[in-house]
C-alpha cells in the first residue's frame, strides 16, 4: 500500500502524509474520536514538514557563517583573487601549519596530505626560507579549509550552552525573559513560509507572504523589550535606536514586497516563483530598483553594518543585547543570521526565480540539478553582498539612517510600486504568457545606465579647487546630519 501511495515520487510532503495517515488511522482512527483522524494526520504532517524545513535551514546556516568568516578574512586582507585563492593551500617549506589530517585514525587522512603536498609543489611557496617582508608572505593555511573551519560554529554553540544565565538585579525579570522568546520564536516562524523546493515546503497558503512579513516584523518589539528591561542606559539607547531604525525600514520593505506581489499576482510565495517560471523572466530584470531596495532594506532590517548602530561596539558595547549571557545571547546572535538567511532566501524567491535554473532551455542537462540546490546557491550568492557591505562600509549614524530610510528609500519604493503596477496592468495582462524579451532588456539597461550616471558624480570644479564633496564651507548653520545644500 505504501509503495505507490504517492503520485509524485519526489514529493516529500506526500510521503510524510502517507506516513502520518497510517499512524493516525491506526491510533486515532481506532478510538472513539475517529472523526479527527484526518485533522490529526494533517497536523502531524505539517509539524514534521516544519521541523524538516527548519532542520535544513539550520544545517545550511553553517555554510553562511563559514562564508562570512572566510570572505571577511579575504576582504580585510585585500590580497587579490589569485593570492586569496592560493592562500588556501600555501605553506612554508612545503609544510602546512596544523596538518590535522595526520591525527585521523587508520591513516584515512593520508590522501588529504598527499593532495595538499601536491598543490604546494605545483603552486606553493619556494622550498627555501623566504626572507621577504612579512607583509607579503603571511598565509599558512592548508587546502582543507572546509571542514575544520566549518565546525567552529558548532563549537561556539556548545560554548553558549555552557555559559551562565544572568539576570541583572534591577532588571524587569519577566520582560527580560520574554524578549528573547519573542525574537527567536518569530524568526523561526518565518521559515515555515519559505519553500525550499517544489516538493519540499511546509506551507502553501494563499497569504503566505503576508503572514511572513507580519511575523518578521514582530522582532523589533522583542528588541525594544530587551533593551528596555535590562536596566542599563546603554541597552536602553540601543533598544530605542533599534526600534526607530527597524520601524523606519519596515515600510519600504513592505512596499517593495508589495510591488513584487503586484507584479506576480499573488500573495502566495510559491505562486510568485511559478509566475517567474511561467513568464520566462526573473523578477530582477523587471524590477531592478526593487531588487536593490530590497537588499538595502534587508541589510537595515537585520542590523548589519552599515546599519548596525543599535549594536555599535564603539559606543554601546553590544547594544540592546549587552546584558544577556549564555544561550539566550547565542540564540539572538543566531537569530541575526537566521534573519539574514531569510532575507537572502526571500531575495532568491522574489527576484531570482526561486528554484528555477537559469537559462533552462539553452544549457543542456541543467534540469538534472535539484531545485533545492538552486535555492541554496542563489541565497548563498546573495549573502556575498551582505558580507561585502560589511567589510567595505562604515557605520552610518542613527539619525542619518533614519533620514535615509524616510527621505530616500520610501519614495523610491513607491516609485518601484508604481512601476510594478504599470508593468502588470498595462503590459502583462495583455500578454498572459511569456514576457517579450524586449521589456526586461529595456528595463535592465535603462536602470544600469541611470546607476552608472548617478554614481559617477564627479564635480570637476570642486576637484580643481580641492574643496570637499560635501561643502561645509558656508556661513549657514548646518546640523550634523545635513550635508546637502
Amino acid at each position: 500500500m505504501i509503495l505507490m501511495a504517492t503520485e509524485d515520487v519526489l514529493s516529500i510532503r506526500d510521503w510524510v502524509r502517507v506516513a502520518t495517515d497510517f499512524i493516525s488511522e491506526n491510533t486515532i482512527g481506532m478510538s472513539r474520536h475517529w472523526e479527527y483522524t484526518d485533522s490529526v494526520s494533517y497536523f502531524l504532517m505539517e509539524f514534521i514538514m516544519c521541523v524538516m524545513v527548519f532542520g535544513g535551514i539550520m544545517t545550511t546556516l553553517l555554510v553562511l557563517l563559514w562564508m562570512e568568516r572566510k570572505l571577511l578574512g579575504r576582504f580585510m586582507d585585500r590580497r587579490g583573487a589569485r593570492t586569496s585563492l592560493r592562500s588556501l593551500w600555501v605553506g612554508e617549506n612545503g609544510v602546512t601549519a596544523g596538518e590535522w589530517w595526520n591525527q585521523l585514525p587508520f591513516g584515512t587522512g593520508v590522501p588529504v596530505g598527499m593532495l595538499n603536498k601536491f598543490l604546494n609543489e605545483v603552486a606553493g611557496n619556494d622550498h627555501e626560507l623566504e626572507v621577504v617582508s612579512r607583509v607579503k608572505n603571511r598565509s599558512y593555511h592548508g587546502v582543507w579549509w572546509l571542514l575544520p573551519g566549518f565546525f567552529q560554529n558548532l563549537a561556539d554553540g556548545m560554548k553558549f550552552l555552557t555559559k551562565e544565565h544572568m539576570v541583572p538585579e534591577k532588571a524587569d525579570r519577566y520582560v527580560f525573559e520574554i524578549a528573547p522568546f519573542l525574537i527567536i520564536a518569530t524568526t523561526v516562524m518565518c521559515f515555515t513560509f519559505i519553500p525550499l523546493s517544489p516538493n519540499f515546503y511546509s506551507n502553501d497558503s494563499e497569504m503566505s507572504i503576508l503572514f511572513l512579513m507580519a511575523v518578521f516584523s514582530v522582532a523589533p518589539l522583542g528588541v525594544f523589550f530587551a533593551g528596555w528591561s535590562s536596566n542599563n542606559k546603554y541597552t536602553l539607547l540601543g533598544g530605542i535606536r533599534s526600534a526607530a531604525q527597524l520601524t523606519a525600514y519596515e515600510i519600504p520593505l513592505l512596499v517593495t514586497v508589495l510591488s513584487v506581489v503586484v507584479l506576480s499576482g499573488s500573495f502566495n510565495l510559491i505562486e510568485v516563483i511559478e509566475f517567474q517560471a511561467d513568464s520566462g523572466v526573473w523578477n530582477i530584470f523587471l524590477l531592478p530598483l526593487g531588487g536593490v531596495l530590497f537588499l538595502v532594506v534587508m541589510v537595515a532590517e537585520v542590523e548589519r553594518i552599515p546599519f548596525d548602530m543599535p549594536e555599535a561596539e564603539a559606543e554601546l558595547v553590544e547594544g540592546w543585547w549587552t546584558e544577556y549571557g549564555g544561550m539566550r545571547w547565542g540564540l539572538m546572535f543566531a537569530s541575526e543570521y537566521l534573519r539574514t538567511y531569510a532575507a537572502c532566501l526571500l531575495f532568491a524567491h522574489f527576484f531570482l526565480g526561486g528554484w528555477e535554473a537559469p537559462l533552462e532551455d539553452t544549457i543542456p542537462y541543467i534540469h538534472y540539478v535539484p531545485h533545492i540546490l538552486w535555492v541554496f546557491l542563489k541565497a548563498w550568492f546573495m549573502f556575498i553582498f551582505f558580507v561585502w557591505f560589511r567589510a567595505a562600509l562604515h557605520r552610518v549614524r542613527t539619525d542619518q539612517i533614519l533620514e535615509f530610510g524616510w527621505r530616500w528609500l520610501l519614495p523610491l519604493s513607491l516609485v518601484n510600486l508604481a512601476m510594478a503596477t504599470a508593468l502588470r496592468l498595462w503590459v502583462y495582462d495583455g500578454i498572459n504568457g511569456e514576457w517579450p524579451l524586449l521589456i526586461p532588456i529595456l528595463i535592465t539597461s535603462i536602470s544600469l545606465a541611470l546607476f552608472i550616471l548617478l554614481s559617477v558624480d564627479e564635480d570637476p570644479e570642486a576637484l580643481e579647487a580641492q574643496t570637499r564633496p560635501f561643502s561645509v564651507q558656508t556661513v549657514d548653520v548646518a546640523s550634523p546630519g545635513q550635508h546637502r545644500e
Partner: protein, 219 residues
C-alpha cells in the same frame, strides 16, 4: 622659503621682550637665556617674578606680547630652602597661531612665511618662575581665565605638589583618586619613595599585597 626660524630672529625677538619687561620694575627680572636642542642653541626669555605680580605680568604678556599658549604650570618643593620653599614654574609660548582667513566664503589656510617673521610674530618660549616662602598653604594667583590651557595644569599642580591657585574655579583631584586624603600631595619631599630598590619589594612583609587601608575603595 626658509625651512625654520633662524637663531638670529629668535635672539633679537627675545632681546626685545626682555627690554620691555624692564618697565615693570623690581618685581620682575627678565633675561635672555639659551637652551640647546641637539646641536642648536635657541634663545628664550627667562623671567623671575614675585607671586603677587604674576597675574599682571601674565595679562601684559598676553595683550602686548601676544603670548597665546600656556604649555605647563608646575611646582617644585624645596624644603631646605626656608625663604623659597615653594616654586612655581610656568612655561608659556608665543605660537602666532591665528584663525585662517576667509575670502569669498572660502577658507584659506595659513602657511607662514618664516623668513619674514619679526617682532611680535616670532615664536618664542618663556620660562617664568616665582617662589613662595615657607608656609603650610602656598598659593599663587591663577591664570586659568587668561589661558584655558592653564586650567588642568593648575589642577595637576595642586593635586600633586600642593600649591593652590587663587581664583581657579573647579579645583579638584585630577590624577590622584577623588577621595585622596586632604593634604596628601605626593610630590612634596617629605613623602619618600617606597621600594626604591627592587629588593625591598621582596623583603617587605606586605610586599605586593594590597594595603589594608585600600580595601573597599571605590575610585
Amino acid at each position: 622659503m626658509a625651512n625654520e626660524i633662524s637663531a638670529k630672529q629668535v635672539l633679537s625677538a627675545a632681546k626685545e621682550i626682555v627690554a620691555d619687561v624692564a618697565d615693570f620694575g623690581d618685581a620682575v627680572n627678565a633675561e635672555v637665556r639659551h637652551h640647546t636642542g641637539g646641536r642648536r642653541k635657541n634663545a628664550y626669555v627667562y623671567i623671575e617674578v614675585v607671586a603677587s605680580e604674576w597675574r599682571e605680568l601674565a595679562l601684559w604678556l598676553k595683550k602686548t606680547k601676544k603670548v597665546d599658549y600656556c604649555s605647563m604650570i608646575t611646582g617644585i618643593h624645596w624644603p631646605e630652602n626656608a625663604d623659597a620653599t615653594w616654586q612655581v614654574v610656568a612655561h608659556l609660548m608665543r605660537t602666532g597661531v591665528t584663525n585662517p582667513t576667509v575670502v569669498n566664503k572660502r577658507v584659506h589656510e595659513i602657511k607662514v612665511d618664516i623668513a619674514s617673521l619679526s617682532g611680535n610674530d616670532v615664536p618664542m618660549e618663556f620660562e617664568i618662575t616665582m617662589t613662595i616662602p615657607d608656609t603650610r598653604e602656598p598659593s599663587v594667583p591663577s591664570v586659568a581665565d587668561i589661558w584655558v590651557g592653564a586650567d588642568w595644569n593648575e589642577k595637576e599642580t595642586w593635586d600633586l605638589v600642593g600649591i593652590d591657585f587663587e581664583g581657579h574655579i573647579g579645583m579638584r583631584r585630577v590624577l590622584l583618586p577623588h577621595d585622596s586624603p586632604t593634604g596628601y600631595h605626593p610630590l612634596q619631599k617629605q613623602h619618600k619613595l617606597r621600594y626604591h630598590d627592587f629588593n625591598e619589594m621582596y623583603d617587605d612583609a606586605q610586599g605586593f599585597g594590597r594595603k589594608p587601608e585600600d580595601s573597599g575603595r571605590v575610585k
